[in-house]
């Protein structure tokens, strides 16, 4: 076992985990932050997407030990003071979710995309979300929500 210090959504957390613990397990089991979803665990589905120093990564294929000293952002950090952020509100408005299981990953992948590229084209949105599967919506609502967010970007 090893002691880990992780910076998640701007807050410092300490936990004990095996040396080769995955970031996904450190977040969910170690810190009880279950917003990040456990999906395929083979880096295909994207349900576990979080941001590592602003880059979208699949937390099922990242060692938690590698994340020390880096900034981790999860879906729990999007809402501020109990208020959903604009992207989350637009997901609701455009029906960008049904079962909701992929939604935390979708939101984080979209957040990474919009930070790098505030006004992405539809094609760029598709590439930005190419690591995230949704089996309910057919993606249309998700793309619309992100496009609406991009239109609102200053």
């Amino acid at each position: 076992m090893a002691k880990l210090k992780l910076q998640v959504n701007g807050e410092s957390h300490e936990l004990e985990a095996s040396e080769t613990a995955l970031l996904l397990d450190a977040l969910r089991e170690g810190l009880g932050m279950t917003g990040t979803k456990r999906g395929c665990e083979t880096s295909h589905c994207g349900a576990c997407t979080v941001l590592l120093d602003g880059m979208a990564v699949h937390s099922c294929v990242v060692l938690a030990a590698r994340c020390e000293g880096k900034e981790i952002a999860t879906v729990e950090g999007l809402a501020q003071d109990g208020e959903l952020n604009e992207l989350q509100r637009l997901f609701l408005k455009h029906g960008a979710l049904q079962c909701g299981y992929c939604t935390p990953g979708m939101l984080m992948a979209a957040t990474a995309l919009l930070r790098r590229n505030p006004k992405p084209t539809l094609e760029e949105i598709k590439v930005g979300l190419d690591g995230n599967l949704c089996r309910c919506t057919g993606y249309t609502g998700i793309f619309e929500a992100i496009q609406a967010c991009a239109v609102g970007a200053k």
Binding site: E19, H44, G46, V62, A109, D130
Partner: protein, 294 residues
């Protein structure tokens, strides 16, 4: 037994640990394949040797004779590097087609080569670029041409005490053009077949090539150069007939496998299609097919 994680501070330290543990210490690059294999219990190392702390292994250096790329350079780095765009644009094309955004953000060129999974995108492009790799151990450094690097399914020339440190790409001949084209069920998949072409047009009409290199991926136990097809096209006019005949030769050079994604026969047919498209794209100086991820 719990796996140990070593995070060495220098390449020297990493090479000492590799020498001490041999094949029981697996170098961990981007982890995008290795951690999945670990989860599925396909590998059983005592030690993971994390190469991420070794900043010396990440990044590109443009040199007079080519580009030198550190093994820990990510697909993302390759995609957005002006040095790669200038010196080896088909490497950027191939990097753009690897997996998904999240995988490209962490996956590395060194990991991609050492994993040697059939259908990987970088090997055909790097073969067509005449790349070689630098393998380091405590005993010294050796340079291995990529044509001698791939040994079998998931097997490479890397010895138990070695770490792949750099990939070297020689400067392309003046006027060289290229394309990497991949066929897959979805863009995130490994290639059912992948064809990379580099050619140097000689200015004649119809165009012929003073130099032509063809790299194939996903269609044999290891990525390979289609040397017979290259020879057939060398110096001849690149007409549809000549390309079609060479594509037949390339298909016969492959030794495709059947798996749930595609039969061997289908893979052989796809080589012919992709080779025609890749050559056409290279002759035009750009890329046609791209799954939208050019």
């Amino acid at each position: 037994m719990e796996i140990k994680l070593f995070r060495p501070h220098s390449l020297e330290e990493a090479l000492s640990q590799r020498a001490q543990y041999g094949k029981d210490a697996l170098p961990l690059a981007g982890g995008q394949s290795l951690l999945v294999m670990l989860r599925n219990k396909l590998i059983d190392p005592q030690v993971l040797l994390d190469l991420e702390p070794l900043g010396e292994l990440r990044g590109l250096q443009a040199r007079a004779n080519g580009v030198s790329i550190g093994a820990m350079t990510t697909f993302f780095d390759l995609l957005y590097s002006s040095d790669v765009q200038n010196a080896a644009p088909i490497l950027a094309q191939a990097a753009a087609k690897v997996g998904s955004t999240a995988i490209r953000n962490l996956g590395t060129i060194g990991g991609n080569l050492c994993h040697n999974e059939p259908g990987a995108d970088l090997p055909p492009a790097l073969l067509a670029l005449n790349a070689s790799v630098e393998l380091r151990s405590r005993k010294g450094t050796r340079k291995v041409p990529l044509t001698e690097f791939f040994r079998g399914y998931f097997e490479t020339a890397v010895e138990a005490e070695e770490i792949l440190s750099r990939v070297e790409i020689p400067t392309l001949p003046k006027g060289a053009r290229g394309a990497y084209i991949k066929h897959a069920i979805t863009p995130e998949d490994l290639a059912i077949a992948g064809v990379a072409v580099v050619l140097v047009p000689d200015g004649k009409n119809p165009v012929s090539a003073s130099e032509l290199r063809i790299g194939l991926g996903g269609v044999a136990p290891v990525p390979l150069r289609a040397l017979k097809a290259e020879a057939a096209l060398n110096g001849t006019a690149l007409t549809d007939e000549a390309i079609g005949a060479a594509a037949e030769i390339a298909a016969s050079e492959a030794e495709p496998m059947s798996d749930p994604h595609a039969s061997a026969e289908y893979r052989r047919k796809m080589i012919k299609v992709l080779m025609r498209r890749a050559l056409a794209a290279a002759i035009e100086g750009g890329e046609r097919n791209g799954h939208g991820k050019a």
